[in-house]
Symmetry: C2
Subunit: 349 residues, 2 copies
């Protein structure tokens, strides 16, 4: 308790004991008499004593809080990830300190400095689209800060990583479009600085190739800010739509890109999937309620958060050396929606 907090010293004074005796009594040490323990514990209970964790942190050199850096909390995927992280953290008595990079490298570094200087015991991070220089993270890693990467990983840093099978996810998505008869499939993706972008692009390319469709570079569009900047997505979408040989389908390779693509197509009066096929990575809960229900590639976000936090705990609690790292690859899920014919009725609203 921060205000008027009762301390061991207060208890000691009140009970005419020394602080060390009180401390030991509270920790149920065997070298304290039952009687003393009882008295101390009762008094502590009655006065709602709680050890000051700040003091404990200073002493034990651990804060029992971990840092999480993602590009944006208000993103269905990341909020689900955080949900998973928090659930495991909570069960293990850890606090979660959240920070957002908003896809800015500068903010990522500032957050990183801030969190680490706040003595977090570990870090879970999904790097920003803007990040190219990872020396700060490397330094941190070399200083033995437990780090777990999630989704957007940094290959060169050898630590735990939690990802999904991005290649397969993208392959499945693209194949799904091909199966539905689309041939001229564009892709809108995050910058290739991100590991996930490369993998998803590879999956897209492979699916095309396996179906005898040649890859067309003019159909590959990058969004430098991961869909954070709406106008950027708008621009690449316009570029695609203005091509003399317009694509007949789009694969959006990230959550934010998917929703923004959908919105942009709608705004231009382009009917999905009749005028334009669309599939994307998305964790939006309502995808199946869309018009028409939209097939998506879903990442097991909650589970990814859980796994990341569990790995981090293992390192923190030193059950596992940082060198003995592993990469967890979870499966993506291709949710095929709207396969049944929808009844069309007149709408009032």
């Amino acid at each position: 308790m921060k205000f008027e907090a009762i301390t061991i010293k207060d208890i000691a004074k009140a009970l005419g004991l020394s602080t060390s005796t009180v401390s030991r009594a509270l920790r149920d040490s065997h070298e304290i008499s039952q009687e003393t323990k009882r008295i101390v514990q009762e008094y502590a209970e009655k006065n709602n004593y709680h050890p000051n964790p700040i003091a404990l942190s200073l002493k034990e050199r651990r804060s029992r809080s971990i840092g999480v850096i993602v590009c944006e909390i208000a993103n269905s995927y990341f909020s689900q990830v955080i949900n998973g992280i928090e659930s495991i953290a909570y069960n293990n008595g850890y606090n979660v300190i959240i920070a957002q990079s908003r896809e800015s490298f500068e903010r990522e570094i500032l957050n990183l400095q801030y969190l680490t200087s706040r003595s977090i015991d570990g870090l879970i991070i999904s790097v920003s689209t803007e990040s190219k220089n990872f020396s700060y993270l490397k330094e941190l890693h070399e200083k033995k800060m437990p780090i777990v990467f999630i989704d957007r990983i940094v290959d060169e840093i050898e630590t735990h990583k939690v990802i999904t099978d991005n290649f397969k996810g993208a392959y499945d998505a693209t194949s799904h479009l091909i199966e539905r008869g689309y041939r001229r499939i564009a892709v809108i993706t995050n910058p290739h600085t991100l590991s996930i972008s490369k993998e998803r692009l590879a999956g897209y390319n492979a699916a095309l190739k396996d179906n005898g469709i040649s890859v067309n570079e003019e159909l590959v569009k990058y969004c430098q800010h991961g869909g954070m900047v709406y106008s950027e997505v708008q621009n690449v979408m316009n570029e695609l739509l203005d091509l003399e040989n317009r694509p007949d389908a789009i694969f959006a390779a990230a959550d934010k890109l998917t929703t923004n693509s959908l919105r942009l197509l709608k705004a231009r009066g382009i009917n999905v999937p009749v005028d334009m096929g669309l599939i994307g990575f998305s964790n939006i809960d309502l995808a199946e309620l869309l018009n028409p229900p939209m097939s998506v590639i879903r990442q097991p976000a909650f589970e990814m958060g859980e796994v990341a936090m569990k790995l981090l705990l293992q390192v923190i609690e030193s059950k596992r050396p940082v060198t003995d790292f592993e990469t967890k690859v979870l499966a993506t899920e291709l949710l095929i929606r709207g396969s049944t014919k929808e009844k069309k009725k007149q709408m009032i609203n």
Copy 2:
């Protein structure tokens, strides 16, 4: 930095100075010679010195971190709120520690104890649906912990509150349904322990009354767990649909209830809005892309977070006594969607 951290003591030893001199030099105290300052600051810079915030917290009795308790992070409304909170916190050098109650009173208390014992400087909370006893919060408030309530407030505790005009929002929503010709309008709402529920229900009642429609108790349904438990929403939905005189529209008085209602209606093959009108409080980004576009009541979630954090800062930085509290009431927004006729084309997907 946590590992191999360089301390003031290290600098003092290296430079043959005392810790206090170093401390003062680093804080640019006037009582230190320019020369000494320069030497110390250069050395600190070069060795990447950062003061240990844990030690600072212990000394200054403040942690520069604030606690946030919401029912669930992975909820579009709350994730937007947190986004707003974080943005202001970040600009002011504060960390945000997130905790979820998951609509459980027990968890709320545990989180509360945990956060406060972690010496947070302030608290922003949206209470759980299950909470009826606020003695713990009251106690905290009496101990001068800066508290700001957001959305789900506790009337009896006199501190800052940030809410939206729930009465008007619900009134608008209900009126909107009435204007569209619906007459037998049901409401699905959170338990009446929540302030927002009472206000929204009042708005609903008033709209009915003002339009000469009598309130029918069998059309008022409560979800004790705020939509967290899907089966609970399912049950009340079934109760409504199984009425011999079934409602012709539903007003869902909370984010989670709206999406779950929509999903349930879809699952039962009930066409919205033809077979059943539906409107609700919702901050889902995709509402306008739904089939058909769904009108919703939107709360300015991000702004609410910002306002809450600003108020909290004022109290923390003692620019404003806790007794001089205020209640900010932001406007809800009635987003009317799908007013233009939608082209209906055959779907492939």
